[in-house]
Assembly symmetry: C2
Homo-oligomer: 591 residues x 2
């Protein structure tokens, strides 16, 4: 019912004019990543997303997955789409060429990733986790492990999973109980894991589980967690899948959305596993995968909002209701002021989020490839700071926007056949998995701001502040962007100052204001992105671009963002500065 | 899985100290509505809601409704609950005793209504529409129509519906095409209606449809709509249901939520109907029902948020994750700062919304019963102003809060068996039916503010302003409430001034800012309510109340509201004052 067309032109604009594709292209190994190459990659991916993957979205929702003879069965359409995806080399797009990857920058990778996610969020989780697991193996695996697993996972022949959660251990991984007992040069893993995304399925020849468990002599808490590689089929000497390992799916969850993604309860019953990374180093190893997945889930917030936006926009152009002065006869609802407000709220925030996420991805490229170690460290700090923001803010905003998209449809939005409700249901998971927004906010405030004495935050503030004089020079047309960004930056600075001055007063303070701070930082970073985009659009107009309409629309969208979205930043700042006395004082029984 | 307990103490507090139960009790006919009587009514209703209706909520979601042999079948548990409900005289609680009602004030009626809605939203829609239809018949029906239909509908023996929407006529009723042709002293109605809530079912002996249709000589547009009473079974001379009328259910919609409420496509094929009210007066007649239903749907936003809140609170008290300084061992998540923020966000906004809705209900009582015509008019203007606010703001906020409730559950919230997702799905309809939020916002700005030159808005502003000196006298403990309310009132005044000065500039201006204005007015009215509640709590503490904990919690909740919720009012004001130039200028093809 609803089609999806990847916004290639917009993505290219963001990559080039907001996220600094040119600078990424100057990194060693990326010299041939020209704008033309990127455009052709995005265009080709868009075709696959539109023609092959998007049509499976509704099928996955309606049919879902099931367990049959101890094996998860996914819709056959998913498997066909996956074959075309891996056949085209898309699985390892930004993976290491040494293991069969295409070696493109992360910056290009996230743009393409957004397409798969928008086309079919449930389906896209399989590849997302597989590539995250591959990165963890590349970073922490032994040479033998890398040689055995990486080529197959980078190619997408085998898939990967992340086995962390147990019934008593969700956000709190210190409570993990699964056990690993040495058995020769390997281990036997026993325990139950829940909420395992794509924990089992019939789409690939093997499933490689990364499992957090405890060695017999391990210390308590997170310092006693080790990471194990547990394949569904134990590879033979020739690397082909061999004997069935004793890890099995118990059931799949009946969920609000992403029905096409099997969320599994997994039973490990003395399953054969290999230790990866050092003993008791499991959490650090897992974080390689988790950080990758967090950026990926942040992209999901953007992707599902984009899909919902496209559907709402198409409906608003088609649906005729009421009259609008200046339009003959009854008008399409896209001409009604309040419908325009809803659509522009979606468009502006999607563009702002995409820009921030792409800036994080570009920094990841610099962190990996820059020749200067100081430059690498500077970018790594930016990635660390922005990861919880992209994950938390983009998913919170993205799922709100799916609700706006549904609203544009009126009563039809509430009827499942329309498809708007599926995006609303699917998107709702994104603020939860890979660490809830509360966990992201705690990470932001605790590790990423207080943890380095505010250095990474100050560096971001300095970069944002550097855009102000440019906006000033741009004059009246961008004056509202200038004042909104200036006020936004002041709010970020004030909030950081308040946190530094007050967090030690009470152990609950940081947690009490962390969500506000995360949303504030995301919103203001979004305003910065929109300002940079507006500056680029203005420059192109001045240079006589042939795409006047696109650049003028960019300016109007940035204006809308500055006047209608940015004022809320001040509200969050004030919430922070008011402290959280009331919140901490309310007795449990009075809730 | 999730229980519901009506917050009787809180409701009584709001009725007495925010909404002015005493003043309502002084109205003619309500002299015996003492606080004790109200408490016993609420307590009894709470028992029915908890023990009889709430247990059907999940059943309705899982089983849904179906069409069998041209008849809608609802879960049998719904019918049993309905029998207890009507048997106890609850159907006509605030209806006219002349027709069998209990004659209690609206103010008591809405509090009790919230309980049925929270207990089972889908189920509660049946009684809501029936009583709305009864009010329309009482206001516009002939003596014979009232005598025939009212006693049965007030008792809940027969149910009522509202047949407005057609495929091409949703928000735009001017496009209604259904025809009514005279046939003796009656009419034959032909047409198709969609989205008819409880359009057919097996819970009552008859279903009375109020149908908008056009007479052969009717003018085009809404001025050519007439209202017809079309019973499923044509009453015999003795009033018993007789011959089957030719109105039939075609299908029920497959919806995101409220699965237990049959949303019907209805076919009228020369169905026998009676004209109600004058020819071409249909819209005015229907508005009697619609305004009643709009207040009711506003209550639904509050009710579903309350239900979601109770479930999230229970989970947060039970679920143990992580550690919190000052608590031994692993802590229940209610002790984590961000979880407290989520719960208090729900609690504070629910209390604010309930207060505003109850103020509207009390005004409805004064509008109907006050002896002084000027007093009646003054209160009617308040009801008219607040109806779109209660409908729009309470449902927008309520559905956001169901999302917060789901979030408190983490991954468990996304699993359907937990029940949190049902509230999220159920609540999502409330911003759509009985007029979308966009329609409410247009009504507020067009009819209710510009329509009377801002008089009703100014009267509300004056009443809110009168609370400021009281807050000032209350001193430091309420200082943050004073400044928040003062700033909020200034925002409302400024927004009203901007609207008056700018709406004529461009026909799209009012629509472009209307949603912001609706949310602004709701939020500030909520701040006013919380301030009044805090003043009452402070007074009770000073007077040596025995319920110190409750009153202190009220003060903390009001503080949280003033510091964490109210700042957004300024953001909305600034959005309005920035105008909607960008929104109106963006070409359709650039969305």
């Amino acid at each position: 019912m609803s089609e999806y067309h990847a916004p290639v032109k917009e993505m290219l604009f963001v990559l080039r004019h907001v996220a600094g594709l040119d600078a990424v292209s100057r990194l060693p190994g990326y010299e041939d990543v020209t704008p033309d190459l990127v455009e052709s990659v995005l265009t080709e991916a868009a075709l696959l997303a539109t023609n092959v993957i998007a049509p499976t979205n509704r099928i996955g929702d309606a049919v879902g997955t099931r367990v049959e003879d101890g094996q998860v069965i996914v819709p056959p359409e998913f498997t066909s789409a996956y074959r075309e995806f891996t056949g085209g080399g898309w699985a390892g797009l930004s993976q290491n060429p040494d293991f069969g990857g295409q070696g493109l920058p992360y910056l290009v990778g996230v743009a393409v990733e957004e397409m798969w996610q928008a086309a079919n969020l449930a389906w896209s989780l399989g590849p997302l986790l597989t590539q995250g697991a591959a990165r963890a193996i590349e970073a922490h695996g032994s040479e033998a492990q890398r040689a055995l697993y990486l080529p197959r996972m980078v190619a997408g022949e085998w898939s990967g999973t992340m086995n962390l959660t147990e019934p008593q251990a969700g956000s709190d991984l210190a409570a993990v109980r699964s056990q690993a007992v040495p058995d020769g040069d390997r281990y036997r893993i026993t325990g139950q894991k829940i909420f395992i995304t794509w924990g089992d399925h019939d789409m690939t020849a093997n499933v490689v589980h990364l499992v957090l468990a405890r060695l017999p002599d391990a210390p308590p808490g997170t310092r006693g967690l080790s990471l194990f590689l547990v394949p569904k089929f134990i590879p033979q000497a020739d690397g082909k899948p061999g004997a069935r390992n004793s890890v099995h799916v118990v059931s799949v969850e009946h969920k609000l959305g992403i029905h096409g993604s099997p969320t599994c309860v997994m039973a490990f019953e003395g399953a054969v596993g290999e230790l990866m990374g050092g003993k008791n180093q499991g959490l650090a190893c897992m974080f390689t995968m988790m950080n990758h997945a967090r950026l990926g889930v942040g992209m999901e917030g953007i992707a599902i909002a984009e899909r919902a936006y496209q559907q709402a926009r198409a409906y608003a152009r088609e649906r005729v209701q009421g009259r609008v002065p200046g339009i003959e006869g009854r008008a399409a609802i896209i001409h009604h002021g309040d419908v325009r407000r809803m659509l522009l709220t979606m468009k502006a925030q999607i563009e702002a989020m995409r820009g921030v996420a792409c800036i994080a991805a570009a920094s990841l490229d610099h962190a990996h490839r820059a020749t200067d170690p100081a430059e690498r460290a500077r970018h790594q700090a930016r990635v660390d700071l922005l990861t919880p923001v992209v994950k938390g803010w983009c998913t919170e905003t993205g799922q709100q926007l799916t609700s706006v998209g549904l609203q544009v449809h009126g009563g039809m939005g509430y009827v499942e056949e329309t498809g708007a409700a599926q995006h609303f249901r699917d998107g709702r998971i994104t603020t939860i998995y890979e660490g809830t927004t509360g966990i992201q906010a705690a990470d932001l405030v605790g590790r990423k701001i207080l943890g380095d004495g505010g250095a990474a935050l100050q560096a971001l503030v300095a970069d944002m502040t550097a855009t102000l004089p440019e906006l000033e020079r741009a004059g009246e047309p961008l004056a509202v962007l200038h004042s909104a960004l200036q006020e936004g930056i002041e709010s970020v600075v004030a909030a950081g100052r308040w946190l530094a001055a007050n967090h030690a007063r009470h152990p609950g303070v940081a947690g009490g204001i962390s969500w506000n701070l995360l949303m504030l930082l995301g919103t203001v970073a979004g305003g910065w992105v929109m300002a940079r985009a507006a500056l680029a659009a203005q420059a192109q107009l001045a240079a006589g671009t042939s795409d006047v309409a696109f650049c003028e629309a960019k300016l109007l969208t940035a204006r809308f963002h500055a006047t209608q979205v940015m004022p809320v930043a001040t509200a969050w700042r004030r919430g922070i500065e008011a402290g959280c006395e009331a919140l901490l004082a309310l007795p449990e029984e009075q809730f």
